[in-house]
């Protein structure tokens, strides 16, 4: 083993407790809501109680005259200047894209839509003033069901569009030349399984509610926001509201979770910005939990019609998918693209010869949907992994056996799938075999057979999910070709200070991921400096000005690449200085363990920190060396990375009450090389928990009038640790080709894999009862009802 490899192993690959945690768990944090400025006003937003109504008038005179109230601003007051909240992805040329005023002007289209804002000297006064505002609403019909919304004669969400359809996007492998004719294959098949799965609407429920502070008094208007995307916020504030971009600074300080829910340009950010400019005073808006539940974008919410065709021996011959996706009342930043982010993944890990996919986006009078952990890929994985289990049952095959028959073998990579994506690497058999061993698959199958034979009140089911996902958003060229407004590159700046300490500026914007720790580990190895000597800074457009933020499991896969490149450039930049000090040719130096060594001359070396000081002093710089030691680099991925894995779940179902208990859960993930196993384990645990939550617990429910019935954590059931099984995690490791760290993404894998694993386990337990599906979330009542509908007896 060479010294260089030894060095590389010192930090990367090691469990490191997170640098961030001490400050986060002792409350020494800078959340946006902690920002307090002299003369700051507090905002409260009046939200529509109706899902669909015309605003005939707003009387804010009583509120305006309350002591402590500075102003009340309605949509009409700012109609000419407030612009429209952006949607960054035009998924089809004819996509219907109605305006989305931050403050509703004439009409509201979901319950919770902002209609007026109060600015007051304190928060309590602002809230009290909301109750004094009178709004005359003329109710309009609610549009709640996405199938009904497409029917002739349906009431319209946006009258001017003449339809509730936003777009239809289709892919056909025969037309694209990437595969055969799915319709023909289905017609000719031995076996066809047709299923309708429903992805219920869920609420991201990040821990820190959204908050925004705007200070219009400095030369650069400064915006603090609890966001995943400070760079996007700056761009769109400038692009939409007309304030020059160089006059805006956006800071995402400590951010308490996002899960995609803060991958958004929010009405609240626009409103706060407008009010601050108008009143020329700093303002703060922090939402309540109830407002977050009601008005921050929701996730999922689609109907999936899936047909899979196969030969008797289990070889799948075609897959056809039709989606109806609920957009909600408006298109937000990525609303139409979110269901489509799974468009190339419905074929999963399989070698299907023919595929057709179609997705229609539909407006309803509900809170807009948008990215939620996994964004499109969990839905795709759910559909394919559920239908593979159903096909196995139809064929009388073991579900793992059916997958083996169809998946891409290790020696077939890189493999171009029926959708045209090229998967870089993977070893599905290795991950699956490992997971089966850890779960005790064969023993559990035996126990299942015994329980079935005995007619046990508690039945056992085993759920299989063999997933892959595309992450590392994203090649800019690919994004551009699909109508996205931005690119997908990432950047890093590394600067070594005169004392040898290092500052890193990253364009990623962590909100719980632990980049400060992982990035320090990477830099420590690259520059040969101690982990503690590195400071990672992010989330401020003044300092980390180049970046595209954090979402889509992209930060390490894309930003990590840029970081390694920037470190390498720093090493190269100091090399002439080292050669000068050592009086040798730069080409004779090797950089090992933080030092430049003269090859073949033991003992002749200069550390990079010595070079940093010499460069800073600049007393004797060699030609062409500048008096500072820093470098930046960017990276635009040439392709996605494709983590994969096998998750297995054993569930006990009480057939009397319908209650599901997860007995064991095994997650074997292949995410390439790992920088910090502890952080990865945390990501997998959290992701699996969130996926289980969709499978068994969470659902945003509206009544027929469009009132959100699950507006608090009493009605919206988020599981706690007491509801979750012990999770056994393990990994296989297929390094990502072409990535300097060999790393893929892990932020969403757990969520993507776990939901179908759990539902498959529930359905597997109940197949003898005639059950072929249980709609999510598989609450006890739904399970009980499914057993009754199935006949109630094995």
């Amino acid at each position: 083993m060479t010294v260089t490899e030894d060095r590389a192993g010192r930090e990367v690959g090691r469990d490191r407790r997170r640098k961030e945690d001490a400050r986060l768990i002792t409350g020494r944090t800078m959340w946006t809501d902690n920002v307090s400025l002299p003369g700051m006003l507090h905002l409260a937003i009046l939200r529509s109680p109706m899902s669909h109504a015309r605003i005939d008038g707003i009387d804010a005179s009583a509120a305006r005259s309350m002591p402590g109230v500075v102003d009340v601003i309605t949509g009409r007051d700012v109609a000419d200047v407030q612009g429209s909240l952006p949607c960054a992805w035009t998924v089809t040329p004819d996509m219907a894209h109605p305006d989305h005023p931050p403050l509703a002007v004439d009409e509201v289209r979901f319950a919770g839509e902002p209609v007026a804002v109060v600015a007051a000297r304190d928060h309590a006064t602002a809230l009290d003033a909301l109750e004094a505002i009178e709004v005359a609403y003329e109710p309009l019909p609610a549009v709640m069901d996405i199938e009904d919304a497409l029917a002739d004669g349906s009431p319209l969400v946006h009258q001017s569009l003449g339809t509730n359809k936003s777009f239809t996007w289709a892919f056909d492998s025969a037309e694209e030349g990437t595969g055969g004719d799915a319709a023909a294959a289905i017609d000719a098949a031995d076996v066809v399984v047709r299923r309708r799965y429903v992805q219920q609407r869920v609420i991201p429920a990040f821990m820190e509610p959204r908050s925004v502070v705007v200070d219009p008094t400095p030369d650069q208007i400064t915006v603090w926001s609890s966001t995943q995307v400070p760079h996007f916020v700056r761009f769109f504030l400038a692009a939409v509201l007309g304030t020059p971009e160089h006059k805006i600074r956006v800071i995402a300080p400590d951010v308490g979770g996002g899960f995609g829910g803060k991958l958004q340009i929010t009405a609240e950010e626009f409103i706060s910005f407008l009010v601050a400019q108008r009143l020329r005073k700093p303002v703060k808006y922090t939402e309540s939990r109830s407002e977050a539940m009601l008005s921050a974008h929701h996730g999922r919410d689609m109907i999936q019609d899936v047909d899979v065709a196969a030969d008797r021996d289990g070889t799948v011959t075609a897959l056809r998918v039709r989606l109806l996706a609920n957009m909600g009342g408006y298109l937000r930043l990525l609303t139409p693209a979110t269901p489509l982010l799974g468009r190339y993944m419905y074929n999963g890990i399989y070698k299907f010869p023919a595929h057709r996919f179609e997705c229609t986006g539909v407006f309803t009078t509900t809170t807009p949907t948008d990215a939620y952990r996994g964004a499109g890929r969990p839905e795709a994985t759910f559909a394919i992994e559920r239908v593979m289990d159903d096909l196995a049952a139809e064929l009388g095959m073991d579900p793992v056996e059916l997958r083996r028959r169809n998946w891409i073998e290790r020696d077939e990579f890189p493999f171009t799938t029926v959708t045209g994506l090229t998967y870089d690497s993977g070893d599905y058999a290795a991950a699956t075999d490992k997971a089966m061993g850890l779960l005790g698959y064969d023993e559990l199958r035996r126990e299942q057979a015994e329980r079935r034979a005995a007619g046990d009140r508690v039945q056992l089911g085993i759920g299989v999910s063999t997933y892959t996902e595309m992450c590392g958003l994203a090649p800019s060229r690919w994004l551009g070709s699909l109508g996205y407004a931005a690119g997908g590159w990432e950047s890093a700046i590394v600067r070594m200070l005169p004392t040898g300490k290092v500052e890193v500026l990253t364009g990623t914007s962590p909100h719980g991921q632990g980049h400060e720790t992982a990035w320090s580990q990477i830099v420590a190895d690259q520059l040969g400096v101690p982990f503690e000597d590195i400071e990672v800074m992010h989330g401020d457009t003044r300092t980390s000005h180049k970046g595209l933020d954090t979402y889509g499991s992209r930060s390490l896969a894309v930003g990590g690449y840029a970081l390694v490149e920037a470190c390498k450039r720093v090493v190269e930049k100091a090399r002439p200085m080292a050669a000068h000090l050592l009086e040798c040719d730069p080409a004779d130096l090797e950089f090992v363990d933080g030092s430049y060594r003269v090859k073949g001359t033991p003992g002749a070396s200069k550390s990079i920190t010595e070079c940093a000081l010499a460069i800073f002093a600049a007393h004797d710089l060699p030609d062409g060396v500048e008096p500072y030691l820093d470098a930046d680099a960017s990276y635009d991925p040439v392709d996605f990375s494709f983590p994969h894995g096998t998750h297995l779940c054993a569930a006990e179902v009480d057939t009397e009450t319908g209650q599901v208990r997860l007995r064991s859960y095994v997650a074997v993930d292949d995410i390439g090389k790992v920088v910090n196993p502890l952080i990865v384990e945390g990501q997998v645990h959290g992701g699996v928990a969130q996926g289980i939550a969709q499978a068994l617990f969470e659902e945003a429910i509206y009544d027929e009038d469009g009132n959100l019935m699950t507006g608090t954590f009493v009605e919206y059931t988020i599981p706690s640790s007491a509801d979750l099984p012990d999770i056994v995690t393990d990994r296989t490791e297929t390094p990502a080709p072409g990535h300097p760290l060999g790393a893929k993404g892990v932020g969403e894998a757990g969520t993507i894999a776990s939901t179908p694993a759990v539902v498959n386990a529930v359905v597997d337990a109940l197949r003898p009862y005639g059950v072929t599906d249980v709609r999510m979330p598989c609450t006890p009542e739904r399970v009980w009802q499914a057993i009754r509908n199935g006949g109630g007896r094995p």
């Binding site: 009290d128 009450t657 019935m709 009493v714």
Partner: protein
């Protein structure tokens, strides 16, 4: 998430609390542990003009042995109920049910009396007091009076307490020779009961002499399943007989259909859980 304005009195003793309540009139409200009231205030679902905080009234807290009964102070917390030696010995049903309330933090702050006076039909402790035939000791401007559990719970979030009343303590009869069990069904570990069943059974040899069954979340108040109790009186303590009786658990009840569960499912659960509770209490 900021309550509407209200006045606040921190009572030193029962007398000052009663005076403050009397002065406060219809819109005064007692603040006990605040685990139900404060969320309602923050959501502005309730807007009392005066809160009388009895958190500092020491005489309302604690458990006392009173011969054939325990007297449990209204400000005794759930955590204290779970861990109190007297409660565990003489009223294990109370300790068992208290342990299922919400989470650890709530149990350390939420109180027995607060939970009973709030009278949420999905609350765990109201049904328990009904099954145990507890008696509520109430003090008002006119003096003290006792209210049996069967008359205390009047309707959804409504009790026999008047606005100027204070719940002082609850007298829980010791039930020597009885066995009890609380069977709670919930969708998540920290959720409210979808249905709960509190049972107390006295048996001799192979026969059930007497059984009491109280149901949580099967109507606008906790209710006793009298038809089950009648069917069990003198019945053999066999699985079949218990199942037969439990099959009537939903008779005469009016469970709600809501976002958590349908009335049908609640009725089904009442039957299943009653059988399980009876099996546990006779096993």
């Amino acid at each position: 998430m900021i309550p509407a304005a209200f006045d606040y009195v921190r009572a030193e003793d029962v007398r000052t609390a009663l005076t403050a309540l009397a002065d406060g009139g219809e819109d005064a409200k007692v603040l006990a542990g605040g685990q139900s009231l404060i969320p309602m205030l923050r959501l502005r679902l309730a807007a009392p003009t005066l809160l009388v905080d009895v958190g500092g009234v020491g005489e309302l807290r604690g458990v006392r042995d009173d011969g054939d009964a325990l007297v449990i102070g209204s400000m005794t917390t759930h955590d204290e109920l779970m861990n109190d030696a007297l409660v565990r010995e003489h009223a294990p049903l109370v300790a068992q049910a208290a342990a299922t309330v919400a989470d650890r933090q709530v149990r350390h702050v939420g109180t027995f009396g607060g939970s009973l006076a709030h009278a949420d039909p999905a609350g765990d402790l109201p049904g328990v007091t009904l099954a145990l035939d507890a008696t509520f000791s109430v003090m008002g401007p006119g003096g003290a009076r006792d209210v049996p559990a069967s008359e205390f719970f009047v309707d959804y979030l409504t009790t026999a307490l008047r606005p100027d009343d204070l719940l002082i303590s609850v007298r829980v009869p010791k039930l020597p020779g009885w066995r009890t069990h609380y069977e709670k069904f919930q969708q998540a570990a920290q959720a409210w009961a979808v249905v709960g069943v509190a049972t107390a059974v006295r048996r001799s040899n192979g026969t059930v002499d007497e059984a009491r069954v109280a149901l949580t979340s099967m109507g606008s108040t906790p209710v006793r399943a009298h038809t089950v109790e009648a069917a069990l009186a003198g019945a053999p303590a066999t699985a079949d007989a218990l199942a037969e009786a439990a099959g009537r658990a939903a008779d005469g009840t009016t469970p709600m259909s809501d976002g958590i569960a349908s009335a049908d499912y609640r009725s089904h659960l009442a039957r299943v859980l009653t059988r399980r509770a009876l099996e546990a209490a006779t096993g």
